[in-house]
């Protein structure tokens, strides 16, 4: 664990995550893109019915193939079931693995490419393998290409469960077919402020898409960060899912958000200035902060910067720093940055101090 490149290292926590760097294109709204592929080995039961030996056998086979596959310049492998709780939480906070993988003590593993952390492979989660690619900005086609390439390399040495009728066979039939989940994370503060976000959610649902929060399923949209992803995996090729999200859905939502921002500024300038100003005041002057209120306030300050509201536009932190801060104020990251364990009260104090430092020009990051 002394490797400074490890995602749970102090250096990584202080550096933040690559996928939160934002992007040159549509960076005011689009935060990141993710593609996940669900795969299983034929000849083995799915994990709900696998014995301990079978779990180990699957993990050994996949791990060996990951080692052969050259997925990145360097690769980290972690036996998640042997990892301390804080490290597991750090990996979840960094979106490198799911909460499901973090739970439990049965054999399970995670591979992450280093130092970029762009490609990761969860082993023995709901499916035997879940290959993921996570990129900053509006880069869904690249994320798909990278995930598919990693999938090809892994498949070379593994017998993947596939049927000509149903495609890639998965433990839950909601993922069968392509096994692909393509997601785009968007920052939508103006749609939330103008109460238009529910319309977006309904429209997305009608189109077979899901809208989830920053930490996925069942999570609230902390910091006005929303993930839009495909639901259906059968009967439509990956190219169609990709084109629909990348060419139609996401550009439309971006346009809605920008229109909502303009509308707020035109029709309720005092209100939006007040909201952004209050948020900045909270971040600069609070002495105790919870993760939720911090993320909400960062979201408003980010909106203030986009709308060129004077106070927000003059802070020391840029857009990327603000996004990184949303990650760094999470409980495990905070403790790793502080290099000590803290209880909830201590975390609130440290969080307020950290945020103030990052936003204040004299001592800003």
């Amino acid at each position: 664990m002394s490797d400074t490149r490890a995602p749970w290292s102090v250096e990584s926590a202080r550096r933040g995550a690559g996928w939160l760097l934002g992007g040159a294109i549509d960076g005011d709204v689009v935060v990141s893109c993710r593609v996940r592929l669900a795969r299983n080995l034929s000849g083995f039961p799915f994990l709900s019915r696998a014995t301990l030996d079978q779990r180990l056998e699957v993990m050994d086979a996949v791990r060996a193939q990951i080692a052969r596959a050259s997925l990145g310049p360097a690769l980290l492998w972690a036996n998640i079931h042997e990892l301390p709780s804080l490290e597991r939480t750090l990996l979840v906070e960094r979106h490198l693995m799911s909460k499901e993988l973090a739970k439990g003590d049965l054999p399970r593993g995670l591979a992450v490419t280093l130092p970029d952390e762009r490609v990761s492979v969860m082993v023995n989660e709901e499916d035997h393998l879940r290959v993921q690619c996570l990129l900053p900005g509006m880069a869904l086609p690249q994320a798909w290409a990278m995930a598919s390439e990693a999938d090809d390399r892994l498949e070379d040495g593994l017998d993947i469960a596939y049927s000509s009728r149903y495609g890639y066979l998965t433990a839950c039939p909601t993922n069968v077919g392509t096994g692909v989940r393509m997601s785009v994370m968007l920052h939508l503060p103006a749609l939330r402020l103008s109460a238009e976000i529910e319309k977006v959610k309904r429209a997305a649902s009608d189109m077979g898409l899901s809208v989830r929060g920053f930490y996925g399923e069942n999570s609230e949209a902390s910091g006005d960060l929303f993930q839009i992803s495909n639901q259906r995996t059968l009967g439509r090729p990956e190219s169609m899912i990709l084109a629909e999200l990348h060419e139609q859905i996401v550009p439309t939502v971006i346009a809605y958000e920008r229109a909502a921002r303009r509308n707020l500024l035109d029709k309720q300038p005092r209100l939006v200035e007040d909201q952004c100003g209050r948020a900045l005041g909270l971040l600069l002057h609070a002495r105790l902060l919870t993760p939720e209120e911090t993320m909400g306030a960062i979201s408003m300050v980010r909106l203030g910067r986009a709308l060129n509201i004077a106070d927000c536009a003059s802070i020391a932190a840029d857009d990327a720093t603000l996004l990184q801060l949303m990650l760094q104020v999470q409980p495990a990251h905070l403790q790793r940055i502080a290099e000590r364990q803290m209880d909830q009260q201590q975390r609130r104090e440290y969080r307020a101090d950290l945020v103030r430092q990052r936003l204040t020009p004299a001592t800003g990051a």
Partner: protein, 263 residues
């Protein structure tokens, strides 16, 4: 409420939704049974997706309390007998399921336990749990019943060899072409192409072959009064039409420029 087919009291209420279009039918128990709306042809429990919004499912709240004796059900149009979904008689069931007992011979998983945890036991379950599972899968995936998209490279290579072999069926060739000819295959996804493999005929030709074959099967099914099978074939034809109209769309030049500027 009266039955749509006779004057008896309607106790089965069905709502059909396709592409946002809504249609209802209201039947008495006897007529519903004649139309095969009970038992195997209309699974009473539905698969809920593990993520996101709930798909159309059977088993929701009754729509006419307190009289109705059967649940309000939402059925994908692909499961219905005729184009209007209402009046064509359905005398026969589809082909028998491979495992009538509803138990997977690979792992012992049953449909009953699947309905509890919504997880299958092993890859064989997809074949072993038969048409009941197939119906649930169709429902979850908006009526789609088969995969279109990426296939493992080793299978793609084998399929290409088979496709190049004289005597291969149009269906097999169409399946390969649908998998291989998406726009992404030629640009951003090297995963779809196998260098040195025989060239694949154009998508349109292959889909035409598949459609021709389906039309012939449809005509045969109608002739034999196998209406349920005919309805499935009709939906598959419609799906192929939609696929053809969407997979050949190329990314706009503007999109390409945006991609080049993206890290």
């Amino acid at each position: 409420m009266k039955c749509d087919r006779c004057n008896a009291e309607a106790t089965v209420h069905e709502v059909m939704i396709r592409q946002g279009q809504h249609a209802e039918r209201h039947l008495c128990e006897r007529c519903a049974a004649k139309l095969g709306l009970f038992g195997k042809r209309n699974p009473s429990a539905a698969l809920k997706p593990s993520k996101g919004p709930k798909p159309p499912t059977a088993g929701d709240a009754p729509i006419e309390p307190p009289k109705p004796t059967h649940s309000f059900s939402i059925t994908p149009v692909s499961k219905l007998p005729g184009p209007s979904g209402g009046t064509a008689p359905v005398p026969a069931l589809g082909p028998p399921a491979p495992a009538r007992a509803g138990t997977c011979r690979g792992c012992g998983k049953t449909m009953a336990s699947f309905r509890q945890d919504e997880r299958l036991g092993c890859p064989r379950c997809y074949d072993e749990l038969g048409e009941t599972l197939a119906g649930l899968i169709e429902r979850v995936h908006d009526g789609a019943s088969c995969h279109v998209g990426k296939i493992p490279k080793r299978l793609l290579a084998e399929a290409r060899i088979r496709a190049a072999t004289p005597g291969v069926t149009p269906d097999a060739r169409a399946s390969i072409a649908l998998t291989s000819s998406s726009p992404a295959a030629s640009s951003s996804t090297p995963a779809f192409s196998t260098p040195g493999a025989p060239a694949i005929p154009a998508l349109t030709i292959e889909v035409s072959a598949r459609r021709k074959s389906l039309r012939e099967q449809l005509a045969r099914a109608v002739e034999l009064e196998q209406y349920e099978q005919a309805a499935k074939l009709r939906d598959e034809l419609a799906r192929l039409d939609r696929l053809l109209s969407t997979t050949i769309v190329q990314p706009a030049p503007d999109a390409k420029r945006r991609l080049e500027g993206t890290p």
